[in-house]
Symmetry: C2
């Protein structure tokens, strides 16, 4: 039987155990890189397809840009190069020869895309440019962990150009909302939208907004970001347009990204000591059918029914797997529980005789609930169960999150709160304040939540009057 | 009006003009790299999705592997490193420090995937391993051309491991068939399946099979390859399994790849002097609706009908675009013809009054055919037209190809034939023979077609008796 460390014993070990035992990913023989195995990649593809549809529904198109960026491009935006140059992987040899200008493997694509937009945008008629790209990027990270922080990681990066700041700001918020809806609706993960503090902004942005989620160990995971780049990259790359009033103006640009970290979030938000629990909408397998028999005669009867049930579920549009491996039912139950398959159908000789099946669900903590239900109408019943599980996972995660956020009014209260949860604290937006709190509590300023009532507080560090609060937490 | 060079004047210029004017791709500011713009990328995505479904239908799963490969890995298979090392892009600096072992950006992934399979495969129960990955790879090419030969290119690479050579050989042929079906059914391109000659094999393969297509200038384009890797990579990476008979055996592996070259083939096989002609199944836009009006009063009437027609076509599952740009109808007609949109619906005030539309098709060479048809039943009519166009494009391409292949029995006949077509010639499979013909005629041995009647001939170069013929052509 697969062994995983209990979450309560060592959350970090539990996470790595689940990834291994659920067959999601493996370590690559390249420092800090992972291989995503079919089960993990299928989950990523499902998440990607939902998100891609949301991008297209909001008017965006996909395109592809080169993975190499000339070093001189990165240097054109001062803050950007300062932020990214320590993390670059650099190609210095090509085709057997030393390159005149080294090429960075993209850590993000603002610069090369900015260069292209400068070629493409001439007139107000060319705006807005609304493009997304799915790719992998490389950042030379010192400490890595599958999905959460890897040297090469897969993500999408959206890059848009607009005629006015009003337009670009609306885009920044629109995409933040898209990320929130993806997290809620597909991943069953509640997130807190907010504005990043000055010290946590993207290198080169005027403002960064994020969605922050609470993991099962009450730590925070930044799960997506949306950046107001102002005219910084437009200036650096000369992205100009002739406006209706016949004057030349600089564009306003945005970028926004969400990576396979969200897959790590799905593991950590929903997983339990039996392994993964996957939201049905994104689960690679939504229903596993386990046939149960003791001998060849029973097998042939059971498999016939199992095959028929498989077909009816598949025809109903479900992602279903008939487990015909030569293993014991107990092994199979454990395996599908480990892999987080939301629903399981068990069929034995008695079920065949009774025209019934046993329908088990994965979302109930501890032993899965099981019900004997008729074979007739099974697809409808399973679909309803999956909807219930999808909603139930979000509800559990939301209740857990809400129970672990505390509003604090003093630094001491914050220190206590971040020991095992999030703290919502009044602070000034000052890098020195963020740094002091991080240094002393290991908690970082996650964001200033957008959805908060304005009030009048005193900054817990400086005592200065403030009108909004920030979320602090230890974070991945 | 967009200007493109006539094909008869300069085919190569025509190709580049079409890519630019149809807004498919642009040159990147990195030597030999391109940016694929939304219209081109959408076409690639459509092709990818069809092919991906074919892979899944034949039992394959997707996964993701790192883009970096330690140099020592490439050196483990002697032929492989010999073939690829002159083309490598090499990362020597990471995180500000010189790397102890440089990393190659993958030119193809047999080595790193072979390493992983050695970890994953233990028993015959783990076989076959059937994995595909969609990614981009880098080969430092000297002369580049969009889609056909670029330094970085997008493709898929399938990698499988099997217990017996019988199994791996069946996989090699199965995937060659999948490529053929994709070319025929989705891209409307007839291809010739065959075995590559010794000199044209993939570096590290025992045998390579290819599909070869004829472009509009009668040159050949290798459009997909499937490799029997024997036990070469299994030996190099120690991919072993315990068989049913309790003995340890080496696996047999395959790999197969198809790249965005196929997109270049779609341009070159179907395009004409008006621009692209896209097969409806993969066209990003299948129907463009062009409203025609002279004043605001007409516009409001026409646009109302156009919006309704748009909705009925979209609801029927078609990829449809309502062109509401402030441009003349003539500009729009040309634009959609350039972009190869298979069908066009024109709606003017008379059409509104008559409950009709003008339905134009893009596939007829020269001026597009146009018919006035009722608005009622338009979706069914358009779907039928698109099917007709899809079949018609394949028929035209097949007729053109078949008219330009000659069977030859002497070297002189071959020399004449390859001036403007393919030659099917009896030759021995000998690198020296291939080299001589290439040197003297610029034509290369494309493959020994699988689907040929066995016979008895004399090699046109050596005079030796041979039982099969090879296809020679100048090639991209």
């Amino acid at each position: 039987m697969a062994k995983i460390t209990p979450r309560s014993k060592d959350y970090s070990e539990w996470y790595l155990d689940v990834i291994r035992e659920a067959d999601m990913a493996d370590y690559a023989p390249v420092r800090g890189c992972i291989v995503v195995k079919p089960y993990g990649w299928s989950l990523y593809e499902n998440m990607r397809d939902f998100l891609d549809k949301r991008f297209k529904d909001t008017g965006h198109s996909n395109a592809a840009f080169p993975m190499f960026i000339p070093m001189s491009f990165l240097q054109k935006e001062a803050e950007h190069v300062k932020g990214f140059s320590p993390e670059l992987a650099i190609v210095t040899i090509g085709g057997g020869e030393e390159l005149e200008e080294p090429l960075a493997v993209r850590p993000t694509s603002e610069t090369i895309i900015g260069y292209m937009y400068a070629q493409w945008v001439k007139s107000y008629r060319d705006l807005p440019v609304l493009i997304n790209t799915w790719n992998s990027v490389v950042r030379w990270e010192k400490r890595t962990k599958p999905f959460l922080r890897t040297m090469e990681f897969y993500w999408q990066e959206g890059h848009t150009a607009h005629a006015t700041h009003e337009d670009s700001q609306a885009e920044v918020m629109r995409m933040l909302d898209v990320y929130e809806q993806h997290a809620l609706t597909e991943c069953a993960i509640p997130v807190i939208k907010g504005r990043k503090s000055i010290s946590e902004r993207f290198a080169g942005a005027n403002n960064t907004y994020s969605i922050e989620a609470m993991m099962g160990d009450r730590k925070a995971l930044q799960s997506g970001t949306s950046h107001d780049l102002g005219q910084n990259f437009a200036k650096a790359f000369d992205i100009k347009f002739l406006d209706r009033d016949n004057t030349e103006k600089l564009c306003w640009t945005t970028s926004w990204g969400l990576s396979w970290r969200m897959l790590g979030a799905v593991i950590m938000v929903h997983g339990d000591d039996q392994g993964l629990r996957l939201p049905p909408r994104i689960a690679p397998i939504q229903v596993a059918i386990v046939p149960i028999y003791r001998n060849d005669a029973e097998k042939s009867v059971v498999m016939e029914t199992a095959a028929r049930v498989f077909k009816t579920l598949k025809d109903a549009g479900l992602r279903v797997k008939l487990d015909d491996r030569e293993e014991t039912p107990g092994f199979k139950f454990n395996d599908w529980e480990m892999r987080g398959v939301p629903a399981r159908v068990e069929i034995g000789p008695k079920d065949v005789a009774n025209h019934s099946v046993a329908l088990a669900r994965r979302d109930v903590p501890g032993k899965p609930g099981k019900a004997f239900v008729p074979q007739d109408g099974l697809p409808e019943r399973v679909i309803a169960l999956l909807d219930e599980i999808q909603a139930g996972l979000l509800k559990q995660a939301t209740a857990f999150r809400d129970a672990n956020i505390r509003e604090v009014n003093t630094y001491d209260e914050l220190k206590a709160a971040v020991e095992d949860g999030f703290a919502l604290a009044p602070v000034v937006d000052d890098p020195e304040v963020d740094a002091k709190i991080k240094e002393e509590t290991k908690a970082t300023n996650r964001n200033f939540p957008l959805d908060q009532a304005e009030g009048e507080w005193k900054c817990i560090i400086t005592g200065k009057p403030v009108r909004e609060r920030a979320l602090f937490a230890r974070a991945y």
